[in-house]
Symmetry: C2
Subunit: 364 residues, 2 copies
C-alpha cells in the first residue's frame, strides 16, 4: 500500500509557533521550548526537522512559526531554505496554521500529502517515526480522509488527549490502521485509568497526515469561517503580496485547534497505531525523564552537586552549586534563577504571571 504514497509528493509541516512558560527561565518569549537545546545540545526543532529529512527533504519541509521567532528559527535551521520558514503574524492555533499551509499548497502542489508534526517533541527513534508517518501518508492516499498517529497508552496520563479506536481496517506499511470513533479531551484521573484498562484508546499525538484536498475539504466543511478567511487572504496576497495579506487577515482568523475544530468533526478519520518512545517534554520533570540521571539527578550545563539527590539542575551560564538538596529543580540563566520543588513545577506559570504583573518584561 505504501507504493502510492511513495509516488505522491510528501510535504512535511513542522508546527513551531508555540510559546510557553513551563521552561522559564530558560525559555523566554523569544526562545520558547522548541528552540531550547533539549535534543542532545541541538534544539528540539532542529532535531524534529532532521528526524524527518530521510523521509521528506529540506526542500519540501515547511516550518510554521511566529513572526517574533522567524529569525531565530531560520538561524536554527541553517539547512532549510529561508523561504520554507513561514511566519504567522499572530498565533491563531493549529487549524489556521494547517489551513494556511494547505491553501498555499493547493496552488503549488495540489496533489501533495501533508505530514504534520509538532516541533517540540522528543522521539529518539527517528526511523520508527518515519515508518509510521509513511504509513499514515499511505493511509491518507489510499483511504482518503484525515489520519492521525495514535500512541500506545502506557499510563493513566491526565495531561494528554485520547482517541477512542473503532474497528481495525487493516494495515498500511506494516502498521495497524483503525477508524477513530471519537476524540477525548484531557480526562480526569479515573477516566484516564478506564481508558488505559479498556485497551482501545490511544494518545492523540498531534501528528497527522492528509492530502491537501482532504484537509481543505474538511476545513471548508467544519470551519467555514476559517476557509472564508483563508480564501480572502490568498486572494489579497495576489493583489498586495503575501506579507501584507497575512498582516491584514491572519490575526482575524478563528482561533481553534485542528483537533477540536476539524478532527473531532470530520469523517472518516483514521488512526495509525504506533508504539515508539515519545515525549512532549511537558515540564522540567518531563525533560528529566529523558536525560541520563546521576545520584544527584539530572544535570545540564555547569553544575556541581554535593550530597544532593533526585534533582533537576540546569545552568545556561552561571555555575549551579547544589549542596544537600533533594527533589529540587534549579534553573539558572544569566539574569534569572528558578528554585522550585519537583512536585510544584506546574506553579512556574504563577511565577511568570507575577513577573508579568510587575512589568518585568525583560525576564519573560
Amino acid at each position: 500500500m505504501s507504493s502510492s504514497a511513495e509516488t505522491t509528493p510528501l510535504v512535511a509541516v513542522v508546527m513551531a509557533g508555540g510559546a510557553g512558560t513551563r521552561f522559564w527561565p530558560l525559555s523566554r518569549c523569544c526562545r520558547p521550548k522548541q528552540l531550547l537545546p533539549f535534543a542532545g545540545g541541538r534544539s528540539l526543532l532542529a532535531a524534529a526537522v532532521e528526524r524527518l529529512s530521510p523521509l521528506v527533504p529540506a526542500s519540501r519541509t515547511l516550518v510554521v512559526t511566529s513572526s517574533l521567532l522567524v529569525d531565530a528559527v531560520r538561524d536554527d535551521l541553517a539547512g532549510l531554505p529561508a523561504e520554507n520558514v513561514l511566519a504567522e503574524p499572530a498565533g491563531r492555533d493549529t487549524a489556521a496554521c494547517v489551513g494556511w499551509v494547505a491553501w498555499r499548497l493547493a496552488r503549488t502542489s495540489p496533489g501533495a500529502v501533508m505530514v504534520v508534526v509538532p516541533a517540540d517533541h522528543v522521539i529518539p527513534d527517528g526511523a520508527t517515526l518515519r515508518a509510521a508517518l509513511a504509513a499514515a501518508a499511505a493511509t491518507a492516499v489510499e483511504r482518503g480522509g484525515l489520519v492521525t498517529l495514535g500512541l500506545r497508552v502506557t499510563r493513566p496520563e491526565t495531561g494528554f488527549g485520547y482517541l477512542e479506536l473503532g474497528d481495525g481496517v487493516g494495515a498500511a506499511a506494516g502498521h495497524e490502521v483503525y477508524a477513530v470513533r471519537r476524540f477525548v479531551e484531557k480526562p480526569e484521573r479515573a477516566r484516564a485509568e478506564a481508558f488505559l484498562a479498556a485497551g482501545n484508546f490511544r494518545w492523540n499525538s498531534g501528528m497527522f497526515a492528509w492530502t491537501v484536498a482532504a484537509i481543505e475539504g474538511a476545513i471548508r466543511a467544519h470551519l467555514p469561517a476559517l476557509a472564508a478567511g483563508l480564501d480572502a487572504m490568498m486572494a489579497a496576497a495576489d493583489d498586495v503580496g503575501e506579507a501584507e495579506a497575512l498582516a491584514r487577515f491572519y490575526p482575524q482568523l478563528p482561533r481553534v485547534s485542528v483537533d477540536f475544530g476539524v478532527m473531532e468533526k470530520a469523517s472518516p478519520v483514521w488512526a495509525v497505531a504506533v508504539d515508539f518512545e515519545w515525549s512532549d517534554v511537558g515540564s522540567w520533570l518531563g525533560l528529566a525523564e529523558l536525560l541520563p540521571a546521576s545520584p544527584a539527578g539530572v544535570t545540564m550545563g555547569d553544575v556541581v552537586a554535593l550530597g544532593s539527590e533526585r534533582c533537576v539542575l540546569v545552568s545556561d551560564g552561571p555555575l549551579v552549586a547544589a549542596l544537600g538538596v533533594q527533589d529540587l529543580v534549579v534553573v539558572a540563566t544569566r539574569d534569572a534563577v528558578l528554585v522550585v520543588p519537583k512536585d510544584q513545577v506546574q506553579r512556574v506559570k504563577e511565577l511568570v504571571a507575577r513577573l508579568r504583573e510587575e512589568g518585568r518584561d525583560e525576564l519573560l
Copy 2:
C-alpha cells in the same frame, strides 16, 4: 576615670584582613565578608569605621588588610586617608597585625592608646560600643595591661571563645571592669551550657584596648620571635623602605592569634563587661538573624518568592525566583548560584574546596 583616656590620643585599628568562604558565592577571594554590603547596603568595614568615627577620627583610624584587598578597601573607605590603609603582604593572624601597628606607633605616637576591632562585625548601637571602647581605653591607661571587651553570654554558643572573669575591680566610664582569670577556646555544648549557667563567663569579643607600650611589652614577653621579626622589619624599613621590608620580613612572622599568643599569657588582663547587640555574622543564618524577615524569610536584592517560607534569598544580579521552598538558602551572582538548606550552610566550605580542586579559580 575617662579623663585620662580623653587626654591620651586614641588610635583605632580595624582588622580587615579576613578571608573566608562562608558567604560564597557572594564572597570571593577579592571580596570577603567585610566588604559585603551587609550593613544596610554599606560594607561591614565601612560601617565599622563610621561607627568609631565619633570616638576616633578618620585621621587616627588605621585599617589593616591584605595586599590583595588594599585597593578595594581604599575604594570602600573614601573618607579615610589612603595611607591609613595598611597592607599585609601575607596574612599572619592577629598577633602580627597588632604587633606591626604597635611597632609603627611606637615611632610616631608612643603615648597612644590602641582600640582594636574586627572589620566584620555588626553592632547596631554605635554609641554604646563607643562608650565601651572609651571605658576600655580608660582602663588601659589607668590600670595598665591589656583590656578586652567581654560580651554578655546569652546562649550556650559553641562557636565563640569565652573569658572567665575573676574579681570585679570597679568601674570605668560606667562599665564594670573585671580581672580575666582565663581565656577558653570554643567549647563543647555541655561546657558552653555550664559557662552560661555559671554567670562569670563572657564571650571574647575580639575587641581590645591597650597602650602601645603595654602591647609591645606583652609581645616582647610572650612572643619574642614575633618581636624580633618586627624589630628587624622596622630596622630594614629605614634602609630599604617599608614596602620592601614588609615583603622581606612579614611573611616570615610567626602565625598566631593575639588571643592565644598574647592575651592568654599576659597579666594583667582586664575585661570591660559589655552588653550590646552584636553579631559576627558567621554565616548566611547569622546574617538572616540581623535582617527584617517576611513570611518568605530574609531577602536581599532582586528576589521574588511565592509560597516560600523561612528562606534566605540573596541576589547580587540575577532575579532569584523561589517557588514553594522552605528553609532554603539561595544566593545568586552573575556567575554562580548556591542552593543549600539552612541546616547545612556550614558545608559551603566543602563546596568551595571542591571548586578549588577542580581549578575553578575564577569562582573563588
